[in-house]
């Protein structure tokens, strides 16, 4: 059940699971942040990981960045499992190849140092063969690639706008010559007119620098603008995945349909279907088997309460985890 992407595989997540113990020391309750998630990312592609808060998308990013260890499951990078990377050298190499760009432009850069600090540290740690002068040159080069004037290297973060700071984040990642950038909601805290610039930058990094990007977002429209493939997450599991145009024009999972109907689009008339749903994504604590979307799903049947649905291919390269969608021969519409 691995996600089949036509490009050579860069990273593969295999049955990733992450649980957190919650409550006090005596509590036995577990929060299922991520449950049995498998997907792959190829070279030179942008994969969008979309979902609401609590869907587990940030947790997945942090597992890929090795901030959390998976409770079970494995991540393979270039064929090698992450759990076998125990040496400092191996870990350093991985953090250069798979860096992370953070969401909040106002807290992701240390306010005390000049903006060049982070980039230079990245270069010092991961490309030790460079001399100090070469490091400065390289810093200037990556700044230009991300669209920043190299004389901004000397500035302090408070002098930069939010959009510029996010570009600095990408510059830091680029300086390490990555293969895959984990971008955790990089534009959600930016003004709308600035977002496009950053999204264009991400596309440029894919096309010109050959970098893959895992773009984590809750904004499907921006995902459509920039991504090649889409993974929709709900309550810690993958609901639907496939080429982005296909998923958005033929959404199979009722949750995807709900999301699409709720996206504000001034050019289209107001969709009525989403009104009844209050947008209360679940916190998954000690879940029972069955589809986690069934309480909000107008199409739920008996099986949905008993058997947890698994991803199955419904269209070429397009999978959805929904009993009703899998057993029905024609397209089901839960939310128009």
């Amino acid at each position: 059940m691995t996600d089949d992407s036509p490009r050579p595989q860069l990273l593969r997540a295999d049955h990733l699971t992450r649980h957190f113990k919650i409550g006090g020391a005596l509590s036995r309750r577990t929060l299922h942040a991520v449950d049995d998630v498998s997907f792959a990312i190829g070279e030179r592609e942008i994969v969008a990981l979309a979902g609401e808060s609590g869907s587990g998308k940030s947790t997945i990013a942090r597992m890929l960045a090795r901030v959390y260890k998976p409770t079970s499951g494995e991540v393979f990078f270039e064929g090698k499992p992450l759990s076998s990377m125990t040496s400092r050298q191996g870990r350093l190499r991985y953090s250069a190849l798979v860096p992370m760009v953070f969401q909040d432009p106002f807290s992701s850069i240390n306010p005390v140092f000049r903006v060049q600090h982070g980039v230079l540290r990245c270069l010092k740690l991961h490309r030790p063969s460079l001399s100090a002068a070469q490091r400065l040159e390289e810093a200037a080069r990556v700044f230009e690639v991300v669209g920043l004037n190299p004389n901004m290297l000397q500035r302090f973060p408070y002098e930069l706008s939010g959009g510029q700071r996010q570009r600095v984040g990408f510059a830091q990642a680029l300086a390490m010559r990555p293969k895959l950038i984990l971008a955790d909601e990089p534009v959600s805290m930016l003004d709308v007119s600035i977002r496009i610039g950053l999204l264009n930058l991400m596309a440029k990094l894919r096309d010109e620098e050959g970098v893959s990007i895992l773009y984590i977002t809750h904004d499907i429209a921006s995902a459509r603008y920039v991504a090649d493939r889409l993974i929709v997450m709900y309550a810690g599991q993958i609901a639907e995945t496939g080429p982005i145009e296909d998923v958005l024009t033929h959404p199979r999972h009722p949750y995807t349909q709900l999301l699409l109907s709720a996206v504000p689009d001034p050019r289209a008339p107001l969709s009525v279907a989403a009104e009844t749903d209050r947008g209360e994504p679940p916190r998954v604590i000690d879940p029972t088997p069955g589809c986690r979307f069934r309480w909000r799903c107008p199409l739920a049947i008996d099986t949905c309460a008993q058997v947890t649905p698994e991803l199955a291919e419904l269209r070429p390269a397009h999978e959805a985890a929904c009993h009703v969608a899998q057993t029905s021969s024609e397209e089901v519409k839960a939310f128009t």
Binding site: R91, S107, N110, P111, V112, N149, Y158, E159, Q172, M176
Partner: protein, 319 residues
């Protein structure tokens, strides 16, 4: 490219004003000190005391210990504050005593803050078992009342020298600051730039020292000033009750001798009041600087300047 103005509350979350000095920031800092009245007064006072401590001979022409003068003289041009019971010049005593007081203040301030930083910030960043054990250590010392403990230590050290005083005050004062710094570090720990440092592969020690602590400078400065202030008060108090070395020249010991000789009752009020006033003024200098740093670091605390409101009659031509 237009730059956003810092200090204007825009819709975006407020950025922290840079705390650590650089050429440009020191310049801003100097300006801030000049503009803030509390900072100016505080720094001027402190500067005066530092100068007195550095060049006592320039200001007081007599030796503080020489008891050659006529005792119990009043105020005169020869003896600005008169002489004490032993015939020593009071003014000289205070001037030469400044050095002892300031040394205690700065060394204790520095030492306390350093220990507090190491323990408090490490506890916050490392978390888990390290945090718990360091917390136990901090809390135990926090709960014990400082002054009685100081008395016990100083008494045990048999009338300690200045070094003993410094050590005793440092050992009993660091825990409060450690607590404060730990709390601050806890809130900063989740900042993305620390996580970013971790994700790019930095080691923990580097992150704590290079990335985290510099962002806490305003709290560190405040801790230093507070601890310096309390060091002055505690040291003088200990000397006053006789637990310092009565032969050192210091404000507290002057008070001790004044008390021993019932200065107030025998018509030598200046002997008791003058050192007390010095302690108060130095303390005020530290306190003013403390408030001023708060205001400089946090614009919301600044006093509001009265603005004359022009009610609705502004006509701007051509707009």
């Amino acid at each position: 490219m237009a730059m956003p103005v810092s200090g204007v509350p825009t819709e975006t979350p407020a950025t922290q004003a840079p705390d650590l000095g650089s050429g440009r920031t020191l310049g801003r800092f100097g300006r801030a000190v000049r503009l803030n009245r509390k900072a100016t007064v505080g720094s001027v006072l402190l500067l005066i005391f530092i100068l007195i401590a550095l060049f006592p001979g320039v200001i007081a022409h007599d030796s503080p210990t020489q008891d050659a003068y006529t005792p119990q003289l009043g105020v005169s041009t020869a003896h600005l504050l008169g002489t004490n019971h032993y015939g020593q010049d009071l003014f000289a005593q205070l001037v030469y005593g400044t050095r002892n007081v300031l040394i205690i203040a700065f060394v204790v301030g520095l030492a306390t803050t350093t220990i507090a930083v190491l323990i408090g910030v490490a506890a916050a960043y490392l978390g888990g078992l390290a945090d718990s054990s360091l917390n136990v250590l901090t809390d135990v010392l926090l709960v014990i009342p400082i002054f009685p403990l100081l008395i016990v230590i100083a008494a045990y050290a048999h009338g300690g020298t200045t070094l003993v005083l410094i050590a005793a005050i440092t050992l009993t004062s660091w825990s409060y600051t450690a607590r404060q710094l730990r709390s601050q570090a806890l809130t900063l720990r989740r900042r993305d730039f620390l996580e970013a440092a971790r994700v790019r592969g930095e080691r923990s020690l580097y992150i704590i020292v290079v990335e985290l602590i510099p962002t806490m400078t305003s709290l560190l400065v405040a801790s230093f000033l507070t601890n310096a202030l309390y060091a002055v008060l505690f040291a003088s108090s200990l000397q006053f009750i006789g637990l310092g070395d009565p032969n050192t020249v210091s404000w507290g010991t002057t008070l001790y001798w004044a008390q021993n000789n019932a200065a107030l009752q025998t018509g030598q009020p200046l002997w008791a009041i003058a050192p007390g006033a010095c302690i108060a003024v130095l303390g005020a200098a530290f306190a003013l600087l403390n408030y001023a740093f708060d205001e400089i670091g946090n614009p919301a605390l600044r006093p509001v300047r009265k603005v004359r409101q022009r009610k609705g009659t502004e006509q701007r031509a051509g707009k």
